[in-house]
Assembly symmetry: C3
Homo-oligomer: 428 residues x 3
């Protein structure tokens, strides 16, 4: 009974056209060009590496895409259990007519050729979007992205700010900030003006969010101008103390929040990542985390900016209860998706159940794909929809006696309507 | 099969008369007078506020109860998914003949009138207790409560000690302590005498527990008299350092534990809350927490007071495994209910499963309602019983082959018998 | 459907012969001699004590085994709910023809006598191993264990190193190190030579792992020779500062990792235990933990020793997501079993689901028994197999449409093949 019920709920959800509120899509090359763009996703390279494949075999300079896929396929057997592998198979079956359960040395070449043919068709990216039922896809744009040459209604800009908050000490970042704003950036007032300029540029190009990922030890706080000036001067000298680096980061971060007020942009916070924990790892396969983080670190921020909506992602499932509780209490805190190391069914089901039971339905952004290539939205959203169907079937329809209609109404908010309402994008 | 089994278990449990070992009932006005007392519960005001209703609209001075309910009802749609909303509907349906699934602008006035009529009947509170199958209800009494004018067998006093441990620095609290004990309170010896006096007063009036809620950074420790004297002197001066405040709190807390030995009272510890994290929130809707707390902070306390039973509630589910483990090892540590932000089915099921599998059956106090008005015991206990029925059905009867009888025997301990045995109250 | 499916999966797994990669078996007395050796397992003594039985009643000097069992049996009723109690009943029913659901004052004596008879049969230990389908059992050997007098193919040595890392300050430990290596141990170079000697001795006797349990605040780091020399000198003087104690522990620990490189031994890390938190507890029933620990503390270690495999156990389930993530990223980090306070079905199912979905299948050592007497492998592994069958049935076969064959192939890796491959032991 429960399985059929789950199927019915899934089928209903699967008919909706959605907006994906966080991806890393390059709008100038949104879809994969070969299977190497699919298998090159860090989940496959890092898992294959973890299971024994040398980084050098994956990242050999000048490596031919076909050869890269071949090397990876020979090392995928140990990761066939992972949910990430199931995305790969779902892509192959849905888009490229693959009929097997697994990719193997014996069948990958046909898939490579079939998929390359499809991918080279004119309008392939639009085709993937249409078949994935996506009307819009949020980007992750460097602050100095010109944001031109693509349809910003479909590929919606989002101002990503890790560089300016955490890496301003690097001369190249300061230089990029000065170039992109055509300003000289010396003191706190200059930084504020430059950031204001970025926001104008981004909102002019239909940006719908400001976003940042944050390490577990970051705690936002306002910084007075004199302290900020001193901290920035230390940055330019290239030898800030830990205190000065912290003050500079806090100053820039706080300024971003102030600009979100002015420009009415939600500020996506992705909390908890430590970068380059495993520097010997493959590209994008080096980051991990310390799960000892608390939203209490954001207390002052949430109180200081009641008019800014903070869609929040947490990296570790142990932080999810705090996220649910803070969203239940603070009007400006919103739950946002299931991020990275928490984006597997066991964690999604637990975290989703906790949110649905205690956070207002209008304050839950169910899911984003975080994808680099459009082909991944379909299997990732499908995984989430299966989890959502399971939780609604078990916790609402069976445990609490809800009608299917009512459960579907809740799913529609969480999957579709909240995203369009919170970010102010047009639903299809 | 599992659903019918769960129903049978639930029905059996639902026949038992229970004692509710922790509430905030006012014994002089235990039941609601209008629907505003139901909808005024902080869960509804804070969730409606979180979903967009202004605090001012809820807390307008002199606001008429009917108008307050009307304003809230218009803002409840976003919280219909929450389990707290289901309590409201269960109250309306069980006690007031409400027949709809939701409260709406079109149906609330009839409910308001029907419920007001019922609530104004003589003996309404007793009626609610009877229909909720409660023979006794623990209170949360200020230390200077006279404890007179009500039946302390039914409304059982509990000495709540947050004020005296954490707020003695406020002149009003010291004054209340001096007034209620008729003593001058200067030094550590005075404080000890005053607290002894409170315990005598409370136990004379049938108090069955001492209780306190604690912030995540509190770590009890004994404090010598000289240090305590200095800390108290700083308190009276109104400018204690952080160290002095900590020493004073520790001294008073330790003294409470010593009095629990003498008066053979369990000491309820409710661990992990940060107060006023969101000061702009509605009344009682401002507290949150930092889940980075450990029971290792209570190691010295548990060792120092082997004769005191510590029924312990933790605010965050991530602390529940520690609670289960400490209760499994320390004879004087007992699990107590599912508190506040962990009082939703997803967390209850996980936390309950963990406790049942590893903590002696006699050391688990299953549930308390934490209610402010009697009407809430019924839906809250029903929620817990459904969780307990589910966990027993799935983890014991199905997974481990237990008989239903045996599962029901376990439920009876956890729901009923442990509470009466641990707090020494008469079962009905 | 799901229950029959789970049974089929369980039955299949139950046919395999396994190696148990972590136990505390004494190879000279591997099986129980009386029921007191079964009921004397710390789970029963500590839970009975927690539920009210005095330590003195359990640990009375010269207590007769039969009398000890009698006393414990009279105090087991409160722990019949625990999963640990179910192991006891499964042992009694499987090995000793016990037919009841519970042990009681009325039936334990017959069991005592029946079991004593069986246990005294020649070849009882081998019989237990055969019926438990174990071809090998890892030991936990003190560093000065001569490792003679038993078959090291069946009872596989493992160098346990807590003493040398954390207790070298005790004169007896230093003395044992000097005696067992026949070396004078003064400075860092001496310690290194002595440890090298231990590794030679152990590997000569077929040791397949180095192992250690670690407190939550430990963070490995290299220590230079001069600092190590000073720290060791302070140890010998008997008054090391906290810094010196930490430096000495780090130095020895790091040296162990270096020897693991040289001798190609996996280094089992069991992370998170605080010793003697409840010093008044029964033997082996005094340890607890602070769940605020992170694998980020091991970052430098994992990077420094890419050729050493680290099978990792975490004490608290809240650390399991980090374990899964670190195993997913670091090639040399492997998940290892479900340890102690996390070894109950609620935690196993959650933790196992998380691992299966995101860690390469070849990097998961499913289970070890941690037993002190051979009779416990059977019920403990059976508990794990039931959890594994449940998770595979629900999360793979039902949720993801896997075939039973494919699920069983995954189970075989996790239960059997990874253990033999990672530790380099022969499968039967």
């Amino acid at each position: 009974m429960s399985q059929e019920l789950r199927s019915r709920l899934f089928d209903e959800m699967n008919g909706w056209t959605l907006v994906d509120p966080h991806t890393h899509i390059n709008p100038h090359a949104p879809a994969a060009k070969t299977l190497a763009d699919i298998l090159g996703y860090h989940y496959y390279t890092e898992l294959a590496h973890s299971a024994g494949l040398a980084r050098e075999a994956i990242e050999e300079p000048g490596l031919d895409p076909r050869e890269k896929v071949g090397r990876l396929v020979e090392n995928l057997a140990p990761i066939e259990n992972t949910v990430q592998y199931s995305w790969l198979i779902e892509i192959a079956r849905t888009f490229f007519g693959f009929n097997d359960e697994r990719l193997s040395p014996g069948n990958w070449e046909a898939l490579y050729d079939n998929s390359a043919k499809q991918m080279s068709q004119p309008g392939w990216a639009d085709d993937v979007l249409r078949r994935s039922k996506l009307s819009g896809v949020f980007l992750t744009n460097d602050f100095d992205d010109p944001l031109t040459g693509f349809d910003t209604r479909r590929y919606i800009p989002c101002l990503r700010t890790d560089d300016v908050v955490f890496h301003l000490v690097k001369p190249a970042v300061r230089e990029r900030l000065q170039m992109s704003t055509n300003m000289t950036v010396e003191n706190a007032a200059d930084v504020r003006r430059a950031i204001a300029n970025l926001f104008q540029h981004f909102t002019k190009h239909n940006a719908r969010a400001c976003a940042i990922s944050l390490p577990p030890d970051f705690a936002p706080a306002p910084v007075d101008a004199a302290t900020a000036d001193r901290a920035l001067a230390a940055l330019w000298r290239g030898n800030p103390s830990a205190d000065e680096q912290r003050a500079a980061s806090r100053f820039v971060f706080w300024t971003l929040a102030e600009m979100c007020v002015e420009h009415r942009l939600p500020f996506d916070l992705m909390i908890g990542v430590n970068r380059a924990v495993y520097p010997g790892g493959v590209y994008q396969g080096q980051d991990l985390y310390d799960s000892r983080v608390s939203l209490i670190q954001y207390r002052e921020l949430f109180n200081a900016f009641p008019s800014v909506t903070f869609p929040i992602s947490v990296l570790a499932s142990v932080t999810n209860q705090e996220l649910a509780s803070y969203s239940w209490i603070f009007p400006n805190v919103v739950t946002n998706g299931h991020w990275w190391y928490s984006n597997t069914p066991t964690f999604i089901e637990h975290d989703l159940g906790a949110r649905l039971e205690a956070v207002p339905a209008t304050k839950q952004i169910g899911y984003y794909s975080d994808m680099y290539k459009l082909e991944f939205a379909l299997p990732k959203f499908a995984m989430y929809k299966r989890c959502l169907a399971k939780v609604l079937a078990e916790r609402y329809i069976i445990d609490r006696g809800w009608s299917e209609t009512r459960a579907i109404d809740l799913a529609r908010l969480v999957l579709r309507d909240n995203t369009t309402a919170i970010f102010g994008v047009a639903a299809e």
